[in-house]
Symmetry: C2
Subunit: 240 residues, 2 copies
């Protein structure tokens, strides 16, 4: 039994061999001036767990991340900071990927005119004018080569499933992992997560677990989507 | 010689024995909503280097920090997040301290009304209304018990010495370490630093060095200030 367990750990199921996963991780930072920024509490742990798990299951992985924490050898890592940098990194690499999983928390708004010098304290009040950042997930879904799977995350504090379903529909992606980030024990910054994975035709509950376990569950679904996709392509091929 | 060097490393000069240093480190975060915040690029390295060096030189140290990175046993650590939390932690502990060194990058502005729920994307534009945070350094200088030394940092991108001199004067502190954070090789986030330490009657250039070396130079000046202060108190004592 010990030998069998050891062999299994050394040779996990390589059901993602042949996939090239593009995974985003961390939270973007949008500069206000050279020192200050708009940020969010994403730690990058969920995206990194996905990257590590996918590598073990035989996939080629490119991790586009704002978090400088180390990842395994064999994982290509691209460090970015802002939503715009993440957009460029994702869209540049999308044509070579078989699936995109956007686990990063991308800023929705950025400062309209970041200052080149540190803003000096002056009045009691200050107004920051913000503008929308590009919607990378929706853009990637529009531009994807045929057969590329696209998965997004929705971090919500209210009406988690409804908001996740809306994003699934409006962005035109294959699945949304919706999670409740108002719970102190899961989600952003935590080592744990819980949520629901939403597809056009079904939902999969992701019970409270470590982000490592949740990553494996999500990759099981990526594998299932791939099998379904390959089968439907065969069925759609004329004269087959 | 090897024996002597070893003895020296094990027994560094304990010239700060009897001091209780209150040191702040890191950058504060001001909540926009449960997920997003206003932040700055401070890593906490300078404040932590000061805390570690002061401990070795015999001081008691309380580190008030936003950075969760580990510090040596023997250093009391207080984790805070916002400017307001840092203010409370500093002012609560100031009466027991002999010196305060504010190496943290405290936000100058915070959001006037942080949202209790994650702000949903809506329009193309968003306006964030900000208000001033309390000036902890000036407040500590006003409230300090007699004899307590107060040192601040000034991270500037322009007219570094002039801005540092203005802060020294306006905040009523004993010294300001002014550094140029527009240089990519020093300051915020870097392992290195350089600047100038400004006193009412003189300046000390702090050449480019590791933050560890710079911490030692700053503590040399704290020690010098203490010796001068003790001497002037003796001279001012009537009938001595």
């Amino acid at each position: 039994e010990i030998v069998s367990a050891t062999l299994h750990a050394a040779n996990p199921i390589r059901d993602l061999a042949g996939e090239h996963l593009l995974i985003t991780a961390g939270g973007t930072r949008e500069a206000i001036d050279p020192v200050r920024f708009l940020g969010n509490r994403s730690s990058g742990k969920m995206g990194i767990a996905l990257a590590e798990a996918a590598l073990k299951r035989g996939a080629k992985v490119t991790l586009i991340t704002t978090a400088s924490r180390a990842v395994s050898l064999g994982c290509e890592r691209v460090l970015v900071e802002s939503a715009e940098e993440m957009r460029t990194a994702v869209l540049d690499r999308l044509p070579g990927a078989t699936a995109l999983i956007m686990a990063a928390a991308v800023a929705d708004y950025r400062v309209t005119n970041p200052a080149a010098q540190k803003i000096k304290k002056s009045g009691e009040k200050l107004t920051l004018e913000l503008e929308r950042t590009p919607d990378i997930l929706a853009e990637a879904a529009r531009l994807r080569p045929s057969g590329t799977l696209i998965l997004g995350f929705a971090a919500e504090t209210e009406r988690v499933v409804e908001e996740g379903r809306r994003k699934l529909r409006e962005k035109g992606v294959d699945a949304i992992v919706a999670n409740d980030v108002s719970r102190p024990d899961t989600g952003i910054g935590s080592d744990h997560n819980a949520g629901v994975m939403l597809f056009a035709d079904r939902e999969v509950r992701l019970e409270l677990s470590s982000k490592w376990t949740m990553a494996e569950r999500i990759l099981d679904e990526v594998h299932r989507l791939r099998v379904l996709r390959d089968r439907s392509e065969v069925e759609l091929t004329p004269g087959y």
